[in-house]
Symmetry: C2
Subunit: 169 residues, 2 copies
């Protein structure tokens, strides 16, 4: 039987990242069709001290990468956040999806009890079981940044709907 930790992580992360890729594609197409500078979307924020779209997508990808790697007991690969264009963000999502596909479900067996250390070696260090890490920390964070990416584009008039956010389920 497939580990419930795999079932609750990799396929969910893939669904939402694939949907986010499609949402970003619509924004890119809209910008091109209307001769709008893509940076007007990529740099858009919901408030001055919130992250812009590019960073929201980077963080969503970062959580997807981190969740899968940590639960599988693998090293979390370090990627530089150098994305500045829609094409860069699509490449980042593709790389993240490939990373998610690199894991076998069996690597998640018993990961519910695996100790995960957040912010190790810092004053904010926190230890969680794999289960608490996925369900109470990783997924809420991941969904936050996927939804906020969508919200930034909606707020700027991109014609996407809940169906685009949800993707294929």
């Amino acid at each position: 039987m497939t580990s419930p930790m795999y079932t609750a992580s990799v396929p969910v992360l893939k669904q939402m990242l694939s949907a986010l890729s499609d949402v970003l594609k619509k924004a890119e197409d809209h910008a091109a069709a209307k001769n709008i500078d893509a940076q007007a979307y990529l740099g858009a924020r919901l408030y001055p001290d919130m992250f812009p779209l590019t960073r929201q997508v980077q963080i969503a990808a970062d959580f997807a990468k981190g969740i899968a790697s940590r639960l599988a007991g693998a090293e979390v690969p370090s990627w530089e956040n150098t994305e500045t264009t829609f094409a860069d963000l699509q490449a980042l999502i593709a790389k993240t999806l490939a990373h998610l596909d690199s894991f076998k479900p069996a690597q998640f067996d018993q990961s519910e009890a695996r100790e995960i250390v957040l912010r190790p070696g810092t004053p904010k260090e926190k230890k969680l079981s794999g289960s608490a890490y996925l369900l109470h920390y990783g997924l809420p964070q991941f969904f936050f940044h996927v939804t906020t990416s969508y919200a930034i584009l909606r707020h700027n008039g991109i014609e996407v709907g809940k169906r685009d956010y949800m993707g294929a389920y």
Copy 2:
């Protein structure tokens, strides 16, 4: 052993709804302190064809109620969406939390295979396993509306941060 379906639903929904309650309280307090009409927040939207804050909170509560009820094989209680004030929304969240607490973990045993029918009797009817319903439909929807509620308040200058969104984990 507690059903992984319970572990992945009720405690997660409670964490996020409790955090949302605290975020809404900060907005209410801010409005009172600054003599701002609470409706300026409650009716705020990120785009004209998106739902305002009040409705976002109602939908988040609705998904929480529906997820737990359906997985437990219980009737989904029908609640009217009559909320118009911050106090009403707090009462709705409290009622939803009490509803979540009314379930025993054992009611979720084997719910991963329970057939869930979305939009029954309509052209958009869709059948999902309990597992797919929770992970690929219910939680993505729930997190969408919790995050969008937060985003509306952030966009309107309420001083909350990621820690407020996350709640206690």
